[in-house]
Amino acid sequence: MIEGLLPELEVIRKDFPILERTLAGGYPLVYLDSANTSQKPQVVIDTMVDHLERHNANVARAMHQLGAEASEAFEAGRDKVAAFIKAPSRDEVIFTKNASEALNLVANTLAWRGDLQVGEGDEVVITEMEHHSNIVPWQLLTERTGATLRWFGLTDDGRLDLSNIDELITERTKVVSLTWVSNMLGTINPVREIADRAHQVGAIVVVDASQAAPQLPVDVVASGADVLVFTGHKVVGPTGIGVLWGRREVLEQLPPFLGGGEMIETVRMERSTYAGIPHKFEAGTPPIVEAVGLGAAVDYLDHVGMDAIHAHEQAITAYALEGLQTVPGLTVMGPLDAASRGGAISFEIAGVHPHDVAQVLDSRGIAVRAGHHCAKPAHARFGVQSSTRMSSYLYTTPAEIDALVEGLHHTRSYFKLDA
């Protein structure tokens, strides 16, 4: 018996209808692609269905009974998310369409007139292990404003290289944006330590918690972030919704992003004034049924317990790291001790391209991801163009890891690597 596993794993698996699927050749689904998107428990699906079948209406603006029910359900989603990340105020929780929009919201609005405007001579600091969604928005911002983009490099074992932090984070730094947990290397970064350093120079700190929120208990204040984002579909919620949490002060200093709908206070043809947060950043009809589903999702995770989920992920990750070591020619990228990493493990197998690895695994019902995982620079750093990634979640069993490892041995023999 592996320590740390969720005690009622079989009960939890029953909550996820897709895990009953069988695939081509009669293989049961072994879903090891949760860092890409998570599966959805029945309660999330049912809550969304009930909303659509019984309570559907537009929110905020509708004064009728359905409108009141829909608004209440939607805003309850906000309350649940606020509780999930321990936000000091529910108004600091803004719904976007995904994590990428949330990051772009910040980067895009920093280009415009306002207290936090970024311009020539200013610097933005990111890291070499970011997801493209935390690189490209800052490239666009710095290219468009004449500011400079800088970044932390990586050590050989896949951690942030903080040795030159004092050269990187200086009086010129206006923003430091980094991922909490890497979606490729699995590395858990010392977010608080970096945030403290950034605050000393007056920079704002943006934390990409897309991979952290599914796996770790999140406390936005304790994290040191000024802005923290994550995405609904990776926390057993639906697509079409992301979360941007920001300190009130910072959100109030940012100019509006998208204009229209309910983000206004008053509109005249000549000029408009804007609503307070969160509405200021929620132009147009929000993701209503998605917020309802996301509320059910974080409730579900809270019910299982984020500490327990974290322990489960670590136990599975440790078990997987062990199993992967039995495969000849396999190299894991990123830290090798499970305690300092999240549940995504990217690896290479000498002599087989990642696509071919994924293809052979898929023929046995095992779903992993192959490619650059939207982290090309991190791959380039390790001199590879792509990798195979397995990623677990609260429904992952040791038996599934066994199937993966066996599948990898089979892959090697399929491609006659020992011949």
Binding site: A60, R61, Q65, S71, E262, E265, T266, A275
Partner: protein
């Protein structure tokens, strides 16, 4: 949906014949508040002297609930000390946010108790509070000015 608990006679009376309507001098602060959802608006002035709410005058556009609430508010606050007025404000706020579970105190709220039914209609609570929020904002501004 007990409509009559929302539209009390008192509310409809104040709606048809609002008290203290219009904008008057002197005043220390004037604010303009809107309910972004529906567009209800109020321009509101306060005249505070020696810690007393000497006058609250207004120009408001809105539904029966928001109009009546403004009228009742002026009845309640004009002539009171700022401290007393703030207490009444707080009591009204609690009534409105009580989801219909708070028993209104007639000694404090007088005609304002008619709004107890509004608290059961979440979409209308904003209407009832519009001018109260404006009054609080204006009063805070006038006190700031005094200090400066």
């Amino acid at each position: 949906m007990d409509l009559d608990s929302l539209y009390q006679e008192i509310i409809l009376d104040h709606y048809k014949h609002p008290h203290h309507a219009g904008l008057r001098d002197p005043f220390e602060a004037e604010v303009h508040h809107v309910n972004p959802t529906c567009g209800d608006e109020v321009t509101l002035r306060v005249h505070v002297a020696d810690g007393v709410v000497e006058d609250v005058s207004y120009d408001a556009l809105g539904c029966s609930i928001s109009q009546a609430s403004t009228s009742v508010m002026t009845d309640l606050l004009i002539g009171k000390s700022v401290d007393e007025a703030m207490t009444i404000h707080q009591t009204f706020l609690e009534l409105m946010q009580g989801k219909g579970q708070v028993e209104p105190d007639e000694d404090v709220l007088e005609d304002g108790i008619a709004f107890a039914g509004v608290a059961k209609f979440p979409a209308r609570v904003k209407c009832a509070l519009l001018s109260w929020m404006a009054w609080k904002d204006a009063t805070a501004q006038s006190l700031d000015k005094e200090k400066a």
